[in-house]
Amino acid sequence: MEQRTHTLRSVAWLWFGISVAVLVVGFRQALFLTPTDAAQGDVGRIFYYHVPIAMLSLLFPYLNFAGSLAYLYWRRRDPLKALTADAFAVASAEVAVVYSTIVLLTGMLWGRAAWGIWWAWDARLTSMLLLWLLYVSYLVLRRFSSTGQSHTLAAVLSVFAAVDVPIVYMSIRWWRTQHPAPVFGGGPNSGMDKSMLPAFFWNLAGWAIWGVLILAFRFALERRRQIADQEAALQAIEASLEIPQ
């Protein structure tokens, strides 16, 4: 047990070091090494954080969906496995909120400088805001519901929330929007200039590695809380069974 903890701690520190190193390279590429966009100027450099984080923000909801489905499946069959799945679900929901918050904020900052407006109620922006609201609702439900069934209700909400993810992804393909056209897979005119690729992929890799780190760290914290709660409950039961002499 001691050896396993030591190994996990070493892996976590190594992962942290790798993610920070890749993010530093991505930051340098995005701000200082990539040529300025001729049409947008320096504000176009927001793209190198906004787009990779936007792509990743659509992955974490699916992890939450998988964790929630596993919780719903195991909750009567094997409650201990269900608790682990629930810890994974809450960790991925929080990371989804963090990433989608950043997408909305950086998008608004870019939109104000590029379009002259902070917000447009077009299909992409509105569906992304809806996604953010759904996962905030998920976390609020877990935090404040007092029914005793909050984890089950949240898991069911998560299943419905996951439906919004493909809508967000397809919104700029299905509808004509204020939001720019897809960078990848958007037809013959999509794609990006070769000079932009290193900054884009370093940041995509960096924020993906970082996302795995914070997801794993948050999951470990939730598991630690669950185990502490179980131990406290066990001690309370043991104390109640002690017969006074």
Binding site: D42, V43, I102, A113
Partner: protein, 47 residues
Amino acid sequence: MTWHSLFDLSTMEHRHLLFAYAAVLVIQGGYFGWIAWNWSHSKGTRH
């Protein structure tokens, strides 16, 4: 672009670029810090 022009707040485009990068780093760092703080203030298992 240089460090000097990154902190040049005279135009909206430079201000928004700096705010966007700062917001990303503050939100991600803040969330990581919140987890680390809770981790350091929670008890491990007794085994």
